[in-house]
Symmetry: C2
């Protein structure tokens, strides 16, 4: 039974080494290439995706109601037509309760081996996942492949590796021997069982269902909990494929496949609150809006709750070595997936005048013009623009853009991407605000909406940026500066605000990227979320140590190294 563990052991150990050294590493190639994934993989995935459309998704879960499914591709505007078993809270919980005992009792190596096999199969099927992610989240194909496939798998593997380390860092048994002076020592045989919490609930989001879902899913699974995976009604398929893969591996290895279940609901009749409140649920992992995060924080009691919500990610510009390199980098961060990333910048704090740029000095307006130009250049070629922007997942985002237009002077207006056909698209909106307009910029404007905030000077820019990160949360912060003393002050200010900072990025690395095994994603140190992908605090509490102790046989003289 530990065959899977043996098969994947080298990957596990490399993952642990990567976590410890925090350098670049990944076992899952990010390039959607036939050379890596097989020359026919792309075509086969397209065919498989086409076959799924209009069908009942093949999940052998118990469900009495009518199947449900309301996914619509933001690329085509057409429903996917895939129906799933309707999630019924008591049915799901009862099945998880039946399944969880044997899983909790399974050796760590068995559980970890199964998790690693699931990840391996998910990686093999990355092209199909790319189709599923593209046509639910609206990401471009390449991003859907990378973020929905290998990068998500990296995050899952990272969670498995850290959970394995937590479960095995203390021995399973030990002899405890307390000297008693001249009397024989007290000797106890001690054993510590790892006891899972019970049932974990993973609440998926609509933009990165796998990347954000896998850490909690795999952390809860390998620590011995049964799982109920509740996808966003708009992005079910990526997690349905994941659950299907997990159930197949569990079944093959002789476990009840209900250890991992999918809970599909509809936007009209959501079941997430009822599930989260159910006493059988011990762990809740949530990625989504601060509004629902607040509800969970307010209403859950005696459960482990891990949230990734949202913030108002700030950018501070004090100065730049190469203006066009900086604005190109920032333009890409604003445009990527149309700002629908939790890591996308929102508030760009720029001094009114006297910004060092190259050999000269520019003012706010010149910086604004340069940034607008960089966005326009990035999006000049429609094919490239489409690959960068993807589509707008939720029509409500278009309404939000319209509302944001009225907040201040429009530096760059948003517009549908020319030639995008039926795809729902919108290029970045850039609005100028004053630092005093906090009511506007100090809340989250999800989507391709950014504010250029005209500050008195760099010190005010930094103060406003760090303060907003501390008070309203930030998942990322970026700084461009030429004054090293200012950089040091900014580092201190953002660290105090609990916001991870990227300084002077240029070229092919962006503030919105977070790499597994290296970057801790979300600090948990400001209101943007209480959990980190993936640190020990994210995994350690998902199981507990329960001791069993019994008198040990007395040592003989030779045990004690004494002459007999």
């Amino acid at each position: 039974m530990a065959e899977l563990f043996a098969r994947h052991r080298a990957t596990l150990e490399a993952a642990l080494a990567a976590c410890r050294t925090r350098g670049f590493w990944s076992p899952y190639p990010e390039v959607p290439s036939g050379k890596v994934y097989g020359e026919t993989a792309k075509a086969e995935a397209e065919a498989a995706f086409a076959r799924l459309r209009g069908t009942l998704f093949p999940l052998d879960q118990e469900s009495r109601g009518e199947p449900v499914g309301e996914e619509v591709s933001p690329w085509t505007g057409e429903p996917l037509g895939i129906r799933y078993p309707r999630g019924e809270v008591e049915t799901l919980v009862a099945a998880a309760e039946r399944a969880r005992g044997a899983w909790a009792a399974a050796p760590v190596e068995i559980r970890v081996g199964i998790a690693l096999e699931i990840l391996t199969r998910l990686n093999r099927d990355s092209f199909l996942m790319a189709n599923a992610v593209q046509h639910t989240t609206g990401q471009s194909f390449v991003m859907a492949f990378q973020a929905g496939g290998p990068h998500a798998q990296d995050r899952g593997l990272e969670a498995v590796a850290l959970a394995f380390e937590e479960m095995t860092r203390f021995p399973a048994r030990a002899v405890w021997e307390k000297p008693q002076g001249k009397a024989p020592p007290i000797r106890l045989d001690k054993e510590w069982r790892r006891v899972p919490r019970g049932i974990g609930l993973v609440i998926g989001c609509s933009t990165f269902p796998t990347w954000n879902g896998y850490p909690g899913l795999f952390a809860s699974l390998v620590t011995g909990n049964a799982l109920i995976v509740k996808p966003h009604p708009a992005a079910v398929l990526p997690l349905a494929l994941t659950v299907e893969t997990a159930r197949a591996v569990l079944r093959e290895e002789g476990f009840d496949s209900d250890i991992v279940q999918l809970a599909v609901d509809t936007s009209a009749a959501p079941i997430t609150k009822e599930l989260a409140l159910h006493p059988a649920i011990g762990i809740v992992d949530f990625t989504g809006s601060p509004a629902f995060g607040a509800w969970l924080r307010e209403n859950l009691r005696g459960k482990l709750l891990f949230t990734e919500e949202a913030g108002t990610n700030p950018v501070v510009v004090q100065g730049c070595r190469d203006l066009s390199a900086v604005t190109a980098n920032l333009a890409f961060s604003l445009a990527l997936y149309s700002g629908q990333m939790c890591t996308a910048p929102q508030n760009i704090f720029v001094p009114e005048r006297g910004i060092p740029a190259g050999d000269g000095t520019i003012d706010f307006d010149a910086f604004a013009s340069a940034l607008v130009r960089a966005i326009d250049e990035l999006l000049a070629d429609p094919a490239r623009a489409s690959a960068v922007l993807g589509t707008i997942r939720d029509p409500a985002t278009l309404a939000r853009i319209e509302k944001a237009r009225g907040l201040g002077r429009i530096l760059r207006d948003s517009a549908p991407l020319a030639g995008a056909g039926p795809a729902r698209t919108a290029t970045p909106l850039l609005v100028e605000l004053g630092p005093e307009a906090e009511a506007a910029w100090c809340s989250e404007w999800f989507g391709p909406i950014a504010f250029l905030i005209r500050c008195r000077d760099a010190e005010e820019a930094l103060a406003k940026a760090a303060d907003s990160a501390a008070r309203r949360g930030a998942i990322t912060a970026a700084l461009w500066a030429t004054d090293e003393g200012f950089v040091e002050r900014a580092v201190e200010a953002f660290v105090r605000a609990g916001a991870p900072l990227s300084v002077n990025l240029e070229g092919g690395i962006y503030v919105n990227q977070a790499a597994a095994f290296s970057d801790f994603h979300v600090t948990g140190a400001n209101p943007a979320g209480n959990a980190t992908f993936v640190d020990p605090a994210f995994v350690a509490g998902r199981f507990r140590f329960c001791g069993v102790r019994r008198p040990a046989p007395a040592t003989t003289r030779s045990d004690r190294g004494e002459p007999s």
Copy 2:
């Protein structure tokens, strides 16, 4: 400045090794001996304690109100007469806010060195602590010395060691280099700062203020948080001495002593809720009643909360090899500190008939008689009885004994200890109940109150015991059994209930003992508490990782090992 770290490094490393191997270890001798602590230590401590009485405790904290103090020795019935600065919430928080920045920014080695020096001085002063613990909690002198001194210091050291390991298990800096095919790799210099939560609040209990207080206190302190220590009004002095020692070391090392403050209130005007709710408090460590624990769980939002509350610790008797050895062991566990330990057994589930005992078989009544006889024998000698029982800390416990008398047939009545003078004492009350009387035995009866529960057979005994542990919580569970198959079933049942189990203890080791570096105290897997002394989950979340990343200089050919 890292001198203290260097001085105590060997102790830290030995503590880490002990945590990893879970064998017996302690650097703090538990014997209250002049040979260890100095021949004059005992007398000097008595003199120092006598000098403290009737004075204003020397703490240089800001406080405008009248000093307060209401401690009364359960041994003499006399007030200690010690007054302390009155804890004022806003004053305490403001001082902590002023102090915490420099502490958060201090290197890990500085903070850990200071914590280890504090523990070393607390150990040196263990005789004074013994007096303080004895005359507030009412423990006997030897127990007050051991549990209040060295064993509490062990728990503090364990927390320091595990927190040190968590803070240092990942590097502070790394270069992340991502290959880009034939193009130069992307290289980032990454740094991760450890960001504390802010201010930790430690809510002390009245029975083991140091043993239960030190894990949270030292875990929050070394991870960079400022501390407010709120003792129980009846047991202030042990934590006052602790805070005084901490402040002295902090001051000597150039830090603001308000990094650790004492918050003393009165039973008439408690400030605990106000403190716990204050937005500046990020971490709350609580030991005490399930009622107040429930209030904290209900009312705190967005804070880390670690609780040790209480359960109804079960004992199951299936059979015993040596009846008198078993009853002697159980009698001691019931009598020790008059059952005022969170680990003391409460419900003893015994089959009605057919209990294997030695070569024969006995029934419920014979077991009850043997247990009563063992308690009587244990307490036959008044001096020994006093050393075992100590005193009753809270007069309300006497009223609880009176109430418990009415619950069922009294097998052994409670009585004051003969010749105990002014000391408030009560020997164990043993009441027979039926398994159906769950309303009575399935809640906590704090003090020298135990129930012998007449069960149909051993299977019913186990089922009731494990079920009550899961539903109402248990910090310990004990089993005496001769049937190895039954032992295995019991292990599985108690592990499922998240209750640590001691099997077939005899001689000088008792179910109520929990050893630092080896036993995880409280599993967090049942309602008796949500936290463990001390596992990684207890320390990991007290600080967060915050990343700072910047482009790294490009490698040269020779860096990459290529010929130049």
